[in-house]
């Protein structure tokens, strides 16, 4: 069996890469994909600890996180489509108004 902390280290590396993408990129869709990357890193941590402590609750939480990530992706991408209709760009620096 593979030690649990190796999975935790992999998860930490993936999370740091996602943080890097959110902080340095301006393209809204790329920022969104970086957020999905961070969500998956957290999922990996949940599953690793679920195996470590023989708890099925961690797996159930991953199930719910997946459902919520799907909802988040649908609404977020709809927001970007709406932004593109109005501003012809999805650069997040251009999205500086609450309504127009």
């Amino acid at each position: 069996m593979i030690p649990t902390h190796w999975f935790l280290i992999l998860s930490a590396v993936l999370f740091a890469i996602g943080v890097c993408g959110v902080l340095t990129r301006k393209n809204g869709i790329t920022i969104f994909m970086s957020i999905e990357l961070m969500v998956n890193a957290v999922n990996l941590t949940f599953v690793a600890y679920a195996r470590q402590f023989h708890q099925l609750h961690g797996l159930i939480f991953v199930f719910f996180i997946m459902a919520i990530a799907a909802a988040e992706a649908a609404v977020g991408l709809a927001i970007f489509i709406s932004l593109h209709h109005h501003r012809e760009t999805i650069d997040v620096d251009e999205a500086n108004l609450m309504r127009w």
Partner: protein, 166 residues
């Protein structure tokens, strides 16, 4: 032994494709790399004795969510658009902050999170997960279904504005 080889190969795949997502300029390449990274994570779930979640990962993430991303990228036709350069201060602070964060997390995990492995294997097939889900978590399950319905309505309202105007 073969378990460790599989772990290192797919961990490397996950990290490399995640780096491609963050560093590549073309969002279509980024989305496809993210699919590859999610497949590698599904292999990690198999190694962690959670085959049900591995299947869910492939179907929901690599199948549904990433198709949604690719559809949006192609609908907005972002492929040819050049991304404007980020301010150098923001770039520098972003890279250094995330690198420091990652190094600190890896250091502390390698030092303090080392635990004794459980002796017995973890039984988590679809039947056990389903029984737990529908006994202890029925109410959150129903709440998530309402949340997904709200997300559908919200997405239609947000993106369908040009249709109602015409």
């Amino acid at each position: 032994m073969i378990e460790f080889t599989v772990f290192f190969v797919f961990a490397a795949i996950a990290v490399i494709f995640a780096l491609v997502v963050v560093l590549h300029r073309n969002p279509v390449v980024g989305a496809l790399s993210l699919v590859a990274s999610f497949f590698a994570l599904a292999v990690m779930y198999v190694l962690l004795e959670a085959p049900f979640l591995a299947v869910l990962q492939v179907i929901i993430y690599a199948g549904a969510i990433m198709v949604l991303f690719l559809f949006t990228i192609m609908l907005l036709n972002l492929q040819r658009r050049e991304e404007p350069a980020t301010r150098p201060v923001q770039q520098f602070l972003g890279y250094t902050t995330s690198a420091l964060f990652g190094i600190a997390m890896v250091y502390y995990l390698a030092k303090y999170a080392v635990l004794q492995l459980p002796s017995s294997p973890f039984l988590s097939d679809a039947r056990r997960v389903g029984v737990t889900l529908f006994q202890a978590y029925v109410f959150p399950f129903e709440a998530v279904s309402i949340l997904l319905l709200a997300a559908i309505v919200g997405a239609l309202v947000l993106s369908g504005r040009s249709v109602t105007q015409s």
